[in-house]
């Protein structure tokens, strides 16, 4: 029997698709290849415009469009109904949502409506087999939904063998966005929903949009500091280097707990997951919790005066030394290169 499609809920606002949805399309495409099936995108919106084309280019084979004036703003019931409608039509094997506030608001309603399980805030997805010891039944290709649990103290692998679809919300920035392929084509399936007055009883009457000051997930370069930085003053060296090479500032939990830098800079299991082209870890020992948030970075430079620091086990470039001398050297070297 052919495996059901791998579906992604597309979160957008005024025609602008959220990065997490595009990241998930890339992951869905990999999973669909493994399962020999297709990728569906569920797009509730006011007007679809050119969004389907973008979704095809990032990996969608089918785009289910639910256009409705009431879908301009993301409100739980209308959005959940739109996704449920698509799920009923598409009968997917897997449905993925970004673990954004909107995704975590809508996904449980959809799961409840489908009477299926839902795993929150996954950081990894894999396909694998499972044998139920009680019944002896073996499932060949289940979705392993992997996530930190118990306040980040353990990593749990969760499966849903019985009910379908298998559903999960996935943390932003964890999956890698694919390079769009504009030659990819697909099918558009328009759907409609009917909404009652009760469905529309929640109304947004005002919005205060907060500018995101720190954009770690979208950063190409991150300069990150940990306990080994030693003081708030020393942390300025991290800022200086980030500033000069055009990077964002990251931090380990220890540095945040010390008050050297604010919480939104925290990388790791209880912070943000990042995968920049370059991650410079200064005075970070490399705990499992921190590693989980950054080990997918393309290149990792670790600067630490403890040669035994675990971070050296997975860094691509190792510098054993004091960051207070190494960072100025890096700045000096960069400026020289830049002037040439």
């Amino acid at each position: 029997m052919k495996h059901g499609n791998v579906a992604v809920f597309i979160q957008q606002h005024n025609g602008k698709i959220e990065n997490v949805s595009l990241e998930l399309l890339g992951k869905a495409l990999d999973i669909a290849h493994e399962l020999k099936t297709n990728v569906s995108a569920y797009l509730p919106c006011e007007k679809a415009g050119d969004m389907p084309k973008i979704l095809f280019s990032y990996g969608a084979d089918n785009v289910y469009i639910i256009e409705n004036a009431e879908l301009k703003e993301i409100i739980s019931i209308p959005y959940a109904k739109a996704v449920v409608e698509a799920v009923k039509k598409d009968a997917p094997g897997i449905v993925l949502f970004g673990a954004t506030r909107a995704g975590r608001d809508i996904a449980p309603r959809v799961a409840s409506s489908m009477k299926s399980g839902l795993t929150a805030d996954c950081t990894e997805l894999k396909i694998g087999p499972y044998t139920d010891n009680k019944t002896g039944k073996t499932y060949e290709q289940l979705l392993y939904q992997i996530r930190p649990a118990f306040g980040g103290n353990i990593i749990a692998t969760i499966i849903n063998p019985v009910r379908h679809p298998q559903m999960a919300t996935v943390r932003e920035g964890v999956m890698k966005m694919k390079t769009p392929d504009n030659s990819r084509k697909g099918q558009i399936i328009p759907l409609t929903i009917t909404l009652s007055p009760v469905d529309l009883s929640v109304k947004i009457i005002n919005k205060i949009v907060k500018e995101k000051k720190v954009n770690l997930t979208g950063a190409n370069i991150i300069v990150s500091g940990g306990m080994g930085v030693g003081s708030k003053e020393n942390f300025d060296r991290i800022r200086e280097l980030a500033d000069i090479i055009g990077g964002e500032i990251g931090a380990s939990r220890a540095a945040v707990d010390q008050g050297w830098v604010s919480k939104e800079h925290q990388v790791g299991q209880t912070g943000v997951t990042v995968r920049p082209k370059l991650y410079i870890a200064c005075g970070i020992s490399g705990s499992i919790q921190h590693k989980a948030g950054m080990d997918q970075s393309l290149k990792i430079i670790a600067i630490n005066n403890n040669p035994e620091a675990p971070i050296f086990n997975f860094a691509h470039i190792k510098i054993v030394g004091d960051l207070n001398t190494v960072i100025p050297m890096m700045i000096e070297a960069y400026k020289k290169q830049d002037n040439k």
Partner: protein, 240 residues
């Protein structure tokens, strides 16, 4: 006005010691202190503030082992009017879907005329934030998640603020509704000594309610429908 507050007793995952994990990688629950889930305390406080302001009956419901009566006791001491513990060995290991079904059934049985259901945004043991919205779906009522503040309640219209992906939204909505409440936007009151004395006897009488929830599913009397039913029974390992 009737407000139902859903609370949970959780292991204190914020203060995990070296003995918190067993050698096989599972959690050593015995080594962790059980606490009132922090976000739920903020939900209870918001409910009690509404009670102070507008007058309301506040009913607190929890599902958990008999020990979870501790947080019900605390809720009474802080100002709740009614408390219910849902406890059954069969509830052990419930996922969010099962939990939401149990709590939904309890709400229907014990607080049918509710206007607002409040719950903390999420519990610190699972961090799923799923049970609230799942209950709203099962009760077929709207929900507003990540609520930070209730500005006003007039007749059956609530004006409130919530966090969204973009920032903050001011929302107008109607009762009945389910709200999940963000932690840190109010200061939970302390238990009152006077209430401790008042409720001493009553708390002793709180007993575990053995609770059975039944979901009725309809099948049409035709071959296709019956085929579907059999297929489901087999896939759920009930027969076959």
């Amino acid at each position: 006005m009737e407000i139902v507050v859903l609370v949970k007793q959780v292991p204190d995952t914020a203060n995990v010691g070296a003995d918190a994990m067993k050698e096989d990688g599972t959690v050593n629950r015995a080594a962790l202190k059980a606490v009132f889930n922090p976000d739920d305390l903020h939900a209870l406080e918001l409910a009690l503030e509404m009670k102070d302001k507008y007058g309301a009956k506040v009913t607190v419901i929890t599902m958990g082992p008999p020990k979870a009566v501790e947080i019900l006791r605390e809720s009474l001491y802080r100002g709740a009017d009614n408390v219910f513990l849902l406890s059954d060995p069969k509830f052990a290991g419930s996922d969010t879907l099962a939990t939401s079904l149990i709590l939904k059934s309890a709400i229907e049985a014990k607080a049918k005329k509710f206007d607002i259901i409040m719950a903390g945004r999420q519990a610190i043991d699972g961090d799923t934030a799923q049970v609230g919205p799942q209950i709203a779906e099962k009760l077929n009522i709207p929900q507003v998640t990540f609520v930070t503040e209730i500005e006003s309640i007039k007749n059956n219209t609530i004006k409130l603020s919530r966090l969204s992906d973009e920032g903050t939204e001011v929302i107008e909505c109607k009762t009945p509704i389910l709200l999940t409440v963000e932690g840190g936007f109010n200061t939970p009151r302390s238990p009152r000594v006077k209430r401790m004395f008042k409720y001493t006897t009553r708390v002793k009488e709180i007993h575990s309610v053995i609770f059975k929830s039944i979901e009725t599913k309809n099948y049409e009397p035709n071959q296709n429908s019956v085929n579907q039913m059999m297929k489901e029974l087999i896939s759920e390992h009930i027969i076959g």
